[in-house]
Amino acid sequence: MRIGSTSWIAPLALLAIAAGTTVASRAEADTVKVGVILPFSGMAADVAQSELRAMKLYYKLHKAELGGHDIALIERDSKEPSGATAQTLTRELVVQDKVDMLVGYQFSPDAIASAPFITQAKKLAILVNAQSSHIPMLSPYIVRVSASSWQITYPMGPYAFDKLGCKTAIVGFTDFAPGRDVAAAFKAGYEKAGGKLVDSIAMGGPAQVPDFTPYLQRIKDEKPNCVYIFTPAASFNAALARAWRDQKVAEAGVRFLGTGDVTQDSVLPQLGDAAIGWITGGHYTADLDNPANKKFLAAWTKEYGDKVKPDFFTVQGWDAMAAVFHVVKTLKGKIDADKAVAALKAWKEDSPRGPIMIDAATRDIIQNIYVQEVVKKGDSLGIKVIGTIPAVKDPCKELGVGNCAAKK
C-alpha cells in the first residue's frame, strides 16, 4: 500500500477531535442537562428547527419559574430516519455528556431504535414527534407529548360517518409503515361506526415523485362519499392539491378528509384554492381560538417575526419544553427517571392546543382532536374549527390492536 506511512494520521485526528469535545461539554453543577435529538439536517430540517425554536422560546419566557435551577440544551443532529444515528446519539448523550433527560425523536424509527438504551440508561425521554402508536410501550421511561397516529385518525372515523355524512369512504395513504398505520386506524374507527370502506389505496412510496393523478382518478371513479388521506407533511400536499383540482374530484361529489398533516399551517398557503373545503382532524392549528394560543402566537411573532407560521410541530416542541420544566420544578432539579415519569403522569397543562395531560396508564398524551376546515381568509387560506373531539386517549393502546396488540 502506497500510503502506509500516513495511516496513523486518521485515528490521531479522531482522538484529538473527540478529546476536544469531551472537555468542551463539561457543564456547571446546578444545571439540568437535556439532550435534544432532532434531525437538524435532511428533509425535516425545517421542522426540527421550528421545534427547537419553540423550546428555546418557552425557556426564555419561563426561565424565572425554575427557582435557581437552570436547564442546558445539548443539541444533536439525528440526520436520516435510519434509527442508527439517533441511537448512537442517545448513547453518547448518556455516556459522554451525562445528560439528565432526553428530548426529541422526530421519526418513529429514531425512537424505536433508541428505546432499549433509554430503558438501560434509566433516562426520561420525551417524544417531540415520533407518532407511531406503540412507541411508549417500548420503554417505561418514554413519555409522548406529541400525538399518536391512531389518536388523530381513529376518532375521525365515527365523526365522518355520524357528522359529515360519509356513508361510503376510501382511505388513501403514502405507502410506508406510518401511512399503513393511519389507514388501519381509519378503517377501524370508521367501520366500527358503521361506515363502508370501499377501497384502501396505497398512493406511492415516500421516495417517489408525488404525482397523485392516477390515485385520485381511481377514487373519483369509485364514487365514495368521502376520501380520507394521509401524506407525510409538506412536500406532498401541494402536489395533492394540484391533482385534486385537475381531476375535479370535489366536483364529482367526493368530500376530502385527512390528517392534520395535510393542512399543516406553515404549508397551507401553498395549497391554493383547490383545498378550500378540505376537512382534517388534528391536534393543533395556529387558528385555534384560546387564550394560551393567542399568547403563544404573540410571543412567537415577537421573537421570530411573522414570516414563518408555527404549526403542530412547533407546539409539540413548546409542550415538550413545558414538560421538561414541570419535571425540573417538581423534582427541584434532582432528576430521577422514575420520579420524573411519575411527575409527568400527574401533569396537566394549558397548552396552546388546549388542555393536555399524560395518561398515567400509557404515558401517552391525552388531548383534544380538532376538526378543521380549510376556508378562505382574506387573500390566503386559513382554518375554521368546526368540531372538537375532547380528551382523546390513544385508541391503539386502548383497543390493543395493530402494533399495540402484542406486548413484548
Binding site: S7, A19, F40, P81, Q87, T88, Q96, I112, A113, A177
Partner: protein
C-alpha cells in the same frame, strides 16, 4: 530461464508494492486505543468502523476492478436484513454465526446479480445497479410485515459474543467486535489485492479490451470480485444490524450508496487505506459540521466532490502522496 538477479528484482518490486509497513500498525494500534482512552465515543466509533468496512468492499470492486455502481447499498442491506431477521424472526441470537450468514447470503446474492449485470457497461450498468437496489428498497417497504419497513425491524437481540462479552451501553464491546471484523476483512482483502487475481482486476480496470484479448474470462473475474465485495458489504450490514440491534429500510437506500461512493472518492480509490481514511474524515465532518448548518453541509459535500474530481482525482491520500513527492520525500 531468467537470470536470478532479474527474478530478484521482480520480487523486490512486488514486495515493495505489496508488503505491509510497520507504520500501518500505527493505524490499528490507535484504532484500538480509541475505546480505551475515550470509551464514551465507542458507539460513534463503531459507526465509523462499519462505514470503513462498507467502503473497503466498494474499493475492491470499484477501486481495483473499476466497476462503477450506484447500488452498493443493496448488499449492505441484504446482510443487515439477514442477520436482523435471523434474530428478530427466527430467534437465532448468536452473533458470529448471524454475521457469517449475512456475509454468505449477501455474497450469494452478489454472485447471482453480478453474473447477470456485469456483462453490461457504462450507463446501462449504472441504471441496472440503481434499479436492482431500488427494487430491493421498495420490496423492504412493501413487505413491512416481515421487515418492519420504515418504522424498522424490532426485536433484534444479540447474545454476548462467545457467550462472554456483554453488549454495553457505551458500545465498547460493539467497537471491539467491529474492529476485529474490520481487521480480518482488511487482511483478507489486502491479500486478494496483492494476488495474481488482484493483478487481473487491475488489468480489467486499466484496459478491459486488452484483458479480453489476452483471453481473460471477464465476466468470471468480475463476478468473483463482485461476490467478494458483496460478501464484505453484507458483513458490514450484518454488523450494523447487530451493533444497533435495529434496522430500517434505510439500509437499502440510494443515499447510502451515494454516501459510500463519496467516502471512497474522498479517501482515494484502489488503495484500501483510502476507504478507511475517507470514512473517518467524512463521518467526523458529518458529525461535527452538519449541525452547524445543514444547508452549508450539503453545499460543502457537493463542493468537495467537485473539487476532488477537478483537483485531486485520487483523493486525500493521493493528494498527500503528491505533496510528499513535490517536497522530494521518498514515496514508497
Amino acid at each position: 530461464m531468467a537470470a536470478p538477479e532479474r527474478t530478484g528484482a521482480a520480487e523486490t518490486f512486488l514486495r515493495r508494492r505489496d508488503d505491509a509497513r510497520l507504520t500501518e500498525a500505527g493505524f490499528w494500534v490507535l484504532a484500538l486505543a480509541v475505546p480505551l482512552v475515550l470509551p464514551e465515543h465507542a458507539a460513534f466509533g463503531t459507526q465509523v468502523l462499519i462505514m470503513m468496512l462498507f467502503a473497503l468492499s466498494l474499493d475492491f470492486i470499484l477501486g481495483y476492478a473499476g466497476v462503477l455502481t450506484l447500488g452498493h447499498a443493496a448488499y449492505f442491506g441484504v446482510g443487515a436484513y439477514v442477520s436482523g431477521l435471523l434474530s428478530a424472526k427466527l430467534g437465532w441470537h448468536e452473533p458470529l454465526s448471524g454475521l457469517a450468514a449475512a456475509g454468505v447470503v449477501s455474497a450469494a446474492f452478489g454472485a447471482l446479480s453480478g453474473w447477470l449485470l456485469l456483462r453490461y457497461r457504462d450507463l446501462t450498468l449504472l441504471m441496472l445497479t440503481l434499479a436492482v437496489s431500488t427494487t430491493l428498497f421498495e420490496l423492504a417497504n412493501t413487505w413491512s410485515s416481515l421487515t418492519g419497513g420504515y418504522d424498522g425491524l424490532m426485536g433484534i437481540q444479540i447474545a454476548p459474543i462467545f457467550g462472554v462479552f456483554e453488549w454495553d451501553i457505551a458500545g465498547v464491546t460493539g467497537y471491539g467486535y467491529a474492529l476485529a471484523l474490520l481487521l480480518l476483512c482488511f487482511l483478507a482483502l489486502r491479500r486478494f489485492t496483492v494476488s495474481p487475481f488482484g493483478q487481473a482486476l487491475r488489468g480489467i480496470r486499466e484496459n478491459p479490451l486488452r484483458m479480453r484479448a489476452i483471453g481473460a474470462p471477464m465476466l468470471g473475474h468480475l463476478t468473483l470480485a463482485y461476490t467478494i465485495a458483496a460478501g464484505v458489504a453484507g458483513l458490514a450490514g450484518g454488523l450494523f444490524a447487530q451493533t444497533n440491534a435495529f434496522i430500517t429500510m434505510d439500509v437499502l437506500s440510494f443515499e447510502r450508496s451515494a454516501a459510500v461512493l463519496t467516502v471512497l472518492i474522498l479517501g482515494g480509490t484502489g488503495r484500501l487505506y483510502g476507504a478507511l481514511f475517507g470514512a473517518l474524515v467524512y463521518m467526523l465532518a458529518a458529525d461535527r459540521l452538519a449541525k452547524l448548518s445543514p444547508v452549508y453541509w450539503e453545499f460543502g459535500v457537493g463542493l468537495l466532490l467537485v473539487v476532488i474530481v477537478l483537483l485531486c482525482p485520487d483523493g486525500l491520500l493521493g493528494l498527500y502522496d503528491r505533496v510528499r513527492a513535490a517536497f522530494g520525500w521518498r514515496s514508497r
